[in-house]
């Protein structure tokens, strides 16, 4: 039932918004699915997911621009880059917990950001990496926005299916167990650090895939794609949609991207409104709209015993 609803949304969306915006929504949803595996399921708040998103975007963008690879090679490479960079970052971070963990993910994100900022010969620095092509494949011309949207939405649906498979498998429960009670999870025999790292790598792979699609959507990799605002945005989208359920991040992405794209074209100081939105949601709607929404979502997924994440701890 839920799957049908998502399918319907995917088909219907380009009739409501322009295809490029619709594509951006689903790309962000892939990004948010990965973020939620860490945040909602494992209880790990990583504030540096744009590291993997951006790194994959730059590598894939480079490959598409200079080596003329096709989209699927780029996608595979980006997913790989996302996973490997997540392995490196995760390895350093999972040994710590709480605030320390959050700060480390941010600090390492900054490392990648500054490397991207300085390495202008490769990344273009502040100007970003422009001129990324969307090579035709199997006879389909992907420079047509509708064709590209179809590709993106198919990939999104595939990502959703993969993530669903993962969370319905034992790994989903194990990660939730780590979130619920890390001590007990370890006592019953799980190498918690290894599982956290696994979650990190999977999330990194999803982030990487999203990064590649982002690069080919806009034809450019902006420096912001590896910056901390991006990292914060995906956390926000995941939370407003309702973390801990599979579809929450999808909803959150729809809401967030639609709103942010609409407002940002109107006012250059859009981040001010974003900041206000964060503050207001956290202060006033944490127990209201957000919790009500996630409770609604978790009621819908309660048959699968996908436990809702306790919102106030």
């Amino acid at each position: 039932m839920r799957n049908l609803a998502v399918l319907a949304m995917v088909v219907a969306l380009p009739f409501f918004v322009r295809p490029a915006l619709a594509a951006e929504i689903w790309i962000f949803a892939i990004f948010a699915l990965g973020c939620n595996l860490l945040l909602g399921y494992t209880g790990l708040l990583s504030f540096g997911q744009s590291t993997f998103f951006g790194a994959a975007a730059y590598v894939a963008g480079w490959m598409l621009k200079h080596w003329g690879v096709n989209l699927f090679v780029a996608l595979a490479a980006g997913t790989g880059v996302g996973a490997v960079s997540a392995l490196a970052v995760g390895y350093l971070c999972v040994q710590r917990s709480g605030i320390y963990f959050i700060m480390l993910t941010f600090a390492l994100n900054q490392l990648f950001y500054f490397v991207a900022y300085q390495w202008t010969s490769v990344t273009g620095g502040e100007d970003g990496m422009p001129g990324i092509p969307r090579p035709a494949m199997l006879g389909i011309d992907f420079s047509d926005p509708v064709a590209y949207y179809a590709l993106v939405s198919l990939l999104f649906l595939a990502s959703l299916a993969v993530m669903k498979r993962i969370v319905d498998a034992p790994l989903g429960r194990i990660l939730q167990a780590i979130r619920e009670n890390e001590t007990r999870a370890e006592a019953v025999g799980y190498d918690v650090a290894r599982f956290k790292l696994l979650a990190f790598v999977i999330a990194g792979a999803f982030s990487g895939a999203a990064g590649v699609l982002y690069a080919t959507l806009f034809g450019i990799v902006p420096l912001e794609a590896i910056g901390f605002v991006f990292s914060g945005n995906v956390v926000f989208a995941t939370l407003i949609g309702g973390s801990g359920s599979l579809y929450g991040p999808v909803i959150g992405s729809v809401v967030f991207i639609w709103l942010s794209e609409s407002v940002s074209t109107v006012w250059a100081r859009w981040p001010l409104l974003l900041g206000v939105a964060f503050v207001v949601v956290v202060l006033y709607f944490r127990g209201g709209v957000v919790e009500a929404w996630s409770r609604f979502l978790s009621w819908r997924s309660s048959r699968r015993a996908a436990s809702p994440r306790p919102s106030a701890r």
């Binding site: 959050i102 914060g232 100081r269 981040p271 964060f278 701890r313």
Partner: protein, 285 residues
């Protein structure tokens, strides 16, 4: 070699500022147990308020006193209006709140002072350089070294030698125990946040004539503050000071030979240390 010596001195000056930032963040993180992603923005506000205060009064010394107090007041307001309600909320909401705050502050800075960088000259008495024998060194940087150094030592003395400082350190170790001893834990949180904000404000105020200002200066400094805390060990005052100096000097030395890498090197040092010692240089396992 005079280049190196000069850079090392630069590194000590900025390292002291980094130590101030790290100290403030460590206090907030240690006592309130929240991730303060607005800490860099408070630093930026301190810098911009200083510039405006100098513009309004023409008096650098007055600005140096007033601007950090302004930031401390801002900290009090933030704690009162927001953070206070989030202690039980979980780190993700605390993060979003402080992150949202950092966006609001950064954008407000742009609205008030414009998006372009501003530069600020040191006060006339601190302009120019001093002949140190091996190099001719800017007076203002020596002043920063001294002033920041004094503040760092002063903070350390406050924490180590005064009664309230002991309460704060106890609060880092064990909040429940402190409140069980009858100490008003909420007042402690408020004071800690205001003190952390004040330290960030002071660092911002001192930094204005060294590096100039830009709306993004807060984010850069936030990352560095995190590195200082990560290296210094959470809640470890001496550790934060040592870590700040270490990365300040490391950055300055690298900048002498390879300017582009000078910022990234801070994070690389952190990553390298954490591989070998996950608890930081001075943290306890």
């Amino acid at each position: 070699m005079t280049l190196l010596a000069g850079q090392i001195l630069n590194g000590i000056a900025t390292g002291m500022l980094y130590a101030l930032m790290g100290l403030g963040l460590a206090l907030i993180a240690g006592i309130l147990n929240i991730p303060n992603f607005a800490h860099g923005a408070l630093f930026a506000v301190g810098a911009y308020l200083t510039v405006s205060a100098i513009g309004a009064t023409g008096n650098f010394w007055l600005a140096l006193v007033v601007a950090p107090l302004g930031v401390a007041l801002l900290g009090l307001a933030i704690e009162y209006a927001g953070i206070r309600r989030l202690y039980a909320a979980g780190h993700d909401y605390q993060l979003l709140f402080t992150f949202g705050l950092s966006l609001i502050l950064a954008e407000t800075i742009i609205l008030i002072w414009g998006p372009v960088g501003i530069s600020q000259l040191p006060p006339p008495v601190l302009r120019g350089g001093v002949d140190l024998g091996f190099t001719f060194y800017p007076k203002y940087r020596l002043f920063v070294m001294a002033a920041a150094g004094l503040l760092v030592v002063g903070t350390w003395l406050f924490l180590e030698k005064t009664r309230y400082g002991a309460i704060m350190r106890a609060g880092i170790e064990n909040k429940e125990m402190v409140s069980l001893l009858g100490i008003d834990i909420h007042r402690l949180f408020t004071v800690a946040f205001a003190l952390g904000a004040w330290l960030a404000g002071v660092a911002g105020a001192l930094t204005a004539p060294i590096r100039g200002l830009s709306p993004g200066m807060g984010v850069d400094m936030l990352g560095i503050a995190f590195v200082v805390v990560a290296l210094g060990g959470m809640g470890n005052v001496l550790g934060a000071i040592a870590a700040g100096l270490l990365i300040g000097v490391a950055q300055a030395v690298v900048a002498a030979y390879w300017t582009e890498a000078s910022v990234a090197v801070i994070y690389l040092v952190m990553a390298a240390v954490l591989v070998v010692r996950p608890q930081g240089l001075f943290g306890i396992r």
